[in-house]
Amino acid sequence: MASIPLSAQFAPSADPVLMQELAGLITAELNLDVPPGDIAPEAPLYGEGLGLDSIDILELALVVSRRYGVRLRSDHEDNTVIFGSLSNLARFIAQNRTK
């Protein structure tokens, strides 16, 4: 499985178009009470930040798999990094997408 190289965590920026698209998907699919534009690019998605729980993460994994052809796996060493923020998720998808 591909994973984020450490260097990517410090990549200058994630694709803003992809981030916007992801923010829209997250709020629509998870029925969140937040306008997509309010999701801060660097705030954690899980737990405190956006407040997603494990049910959401599983739903989100399905959306990401369908939409971008990226399968998430727990044995990704960088799982906490991937959901660490919207921009990290966008970078991960940009590097691993198959569609």
Binding site: G51, A61, L62, S74
Partner: protein, 447 residues
């Protein structure tokens, strides 16, 4: 004094677990449990928070050997842990996560002894010994303890295993997507393995690809212990899952359509389990083919005083059932949904009364109510809504306070701040008014 063995498999012969792809013998399990038992502090109550299913099982065995009681609360929020300290002042936490933030004296799960000593005999545990206290959320705010004695638990699990056709003669590899701390996972993965049903997989896979990879590694016959939510996610994501012999599903109603899809794709039989924390597992059905539930050996259901009750078999005392059921015969029934105060989100059960009490206990909340919409999507998760009057607080502050008190699954979506609630002159909140409010504040057309 009657007793039942800690494990039903003949020591040294059978495997009780698979850890990281390696089999763990019954003898090794007994050695690990004895080793840990010697390290447990002189206390009576242990919160077993081990995420690894094998370590959880070792912790359970060690506690039984030392006559300590395993505490199984519905979650580990700071409010629940604070309450546990009040319930049992000597409680400590056994954990395999160095980062776990649980405010109790802690014992880190130790390294396994280098080699298993010569096979010790299988310890017998008194049937009357208190094995676990499983907590449900009560209506007033305090969790309600449900005491589980060893003999009743063993009878329950052996009855379920007989129904599944599993035994020491036909052991399965057991993979669970539910945690061992949840009553369903506790019975159908941990106790099922210890009582002769097979070997539990220590890892708990999360993503659909993880579940498939974990199944693939296990020998057949394979038993997958899961929920409608996990099952739907897996079938939506994976075209061809590895074959399994048996699927178990519980925690929320499963549709016949999803059951048929699961049976076809896995090439397995699917049994749905009905039960609750208070009674344990009491009935099964083959959801793809039948609507009727059949009770486990000796268990009877009846209607009395307008409520449904279960008794007999492993059910220690006559117990009210939190759902509306139609009794066809003492051992057969139909299920017609939950009693309106009860809510179930992803297998976590609570009562609206409890959740409302938690909301109102937050400083600055003047009025507030949780609302569960009707439109359950089969296999999907319907979330609670909340309407709150709290002039000095914003949404984020309220959610942060709630997160300390209730399980994340029950956090409201949306949480709507209002100037006042549409209370009738009697002070009651008509469900119609709440439905209209939910509709007015819906996103994506969902109410």
């Amino acid at each position: 004094m009657a007793s039942a063995p800690l494990i039903a498999a003949p020591a040294g012969l059978a495997h009780v677990a698979w850890c990281d792809g390696r089999p763990v013998s019954a003898a090794q399990y007994l050695a690990d449990a004895a080793h840990l038992a010697a390290l447990l502090p002189e206390r009576r109550h242990v919160l077993n928070a081990c995420a690894n299913r094998y370590r959880f099982a070792v912790g359970l065995g060690a506690a039984l050997l030392r006559a300590q009681v395993t505490l199984l609360p519905p979650n580990h929020t700071s409010e629940t842990v604070r309450w546990l300290r009040e319930f049992a002042a000597d409680a400590y936490v056994l954990t395999d996560d160095a980062q776990a933030a649980i405010d109790l004296p802690r014992l880190e799960f130790p390294e396994s002894p280098a080699s298993a000593p010569a096979a010790p005999g299988v310890p017998e545990i008194d049937e009357q010994q208190l094995c676990a206290i499983v907590f449900t959320s009560g209506s007033t705010g305090a969790p309600v303890p449900n005491r589980k004695h060893w003999g009743a638990l063993v009878r329950n699990v052996r009855g379920a295993l007989a129904r599944l056709g599993l035994s020491a003669a036909r052991p399965a590899a057991i993979l669970g997507t539910v945690p061992p701390q949840h009553m369903y996972g506790f019975e159908s993965t941990v106790l099922a393995a210890l009582q002769g049903g097979g070997a539990l997989c220590a890892e708990r896979p999360f993503y659909p690809s993880d579940v498939c990879a974990a199944l693939e590694r296990l020998p057949r016959p394979r038993l997958l212990v899961t929920t409608p939510f996990h099952l739907r996610a897996l079938l939506d994501d994976v075209a061809q899952p590895p074959p399994a012999e048996l699927l178990l599903c519980a925690t929320a109603p499963l549709s016949a359509e999803l059951a048929r899809r699961a049976e076809a794709r896995f090439g397995a039989e699917l049994l749905e389990i009905y039960g609750c924390t208070e009674t344990g597992q009491i009935a099964t059905r083959n959801t793809a083919r039948e609507a009727e539930w059949r009770t486990l050996p000796g268990v009877q259901v009846e209607l009395r005083d307008g409520r449904a009750w279960a008794s007999g078999g492993h059910v220690e005392e006559r117990t009210a059932i939190g759902d509306v059921i139609e009794v066809l015969a003492p051992d057969r029934f139909l299920l017609h949904g939950r009693i309106s105060d009860m809510v179930n989100v992803a297998g976590k059960r609570s009562s609206l009364e409890f959740l409302n009490a938690q909301l109102l206990a937050i400083e600055g909340v003047i009025d507030g109510v949780f609302y569960m919409p009707d439109d359950d999507t089969p296999g999907g998760i319907t979330r609670l809504r909340a309407f709150v009057v709290a002039p000095g607080l914003d949404r984020e502050q309220l959610l942060a306070r709630l997160r300390e008190r209730i399980d994340a699954a029950f956090l409201p979506r949306p949480l709507v701040l209002l100037e006042r609630l549409p209370r009738a002159p009697s002070g009651k909140l008509p469900r119609e008014a709440l439905r209209a409010l939910a509709h007015a504040h819906a996103r994506n057309g969902k109410t």
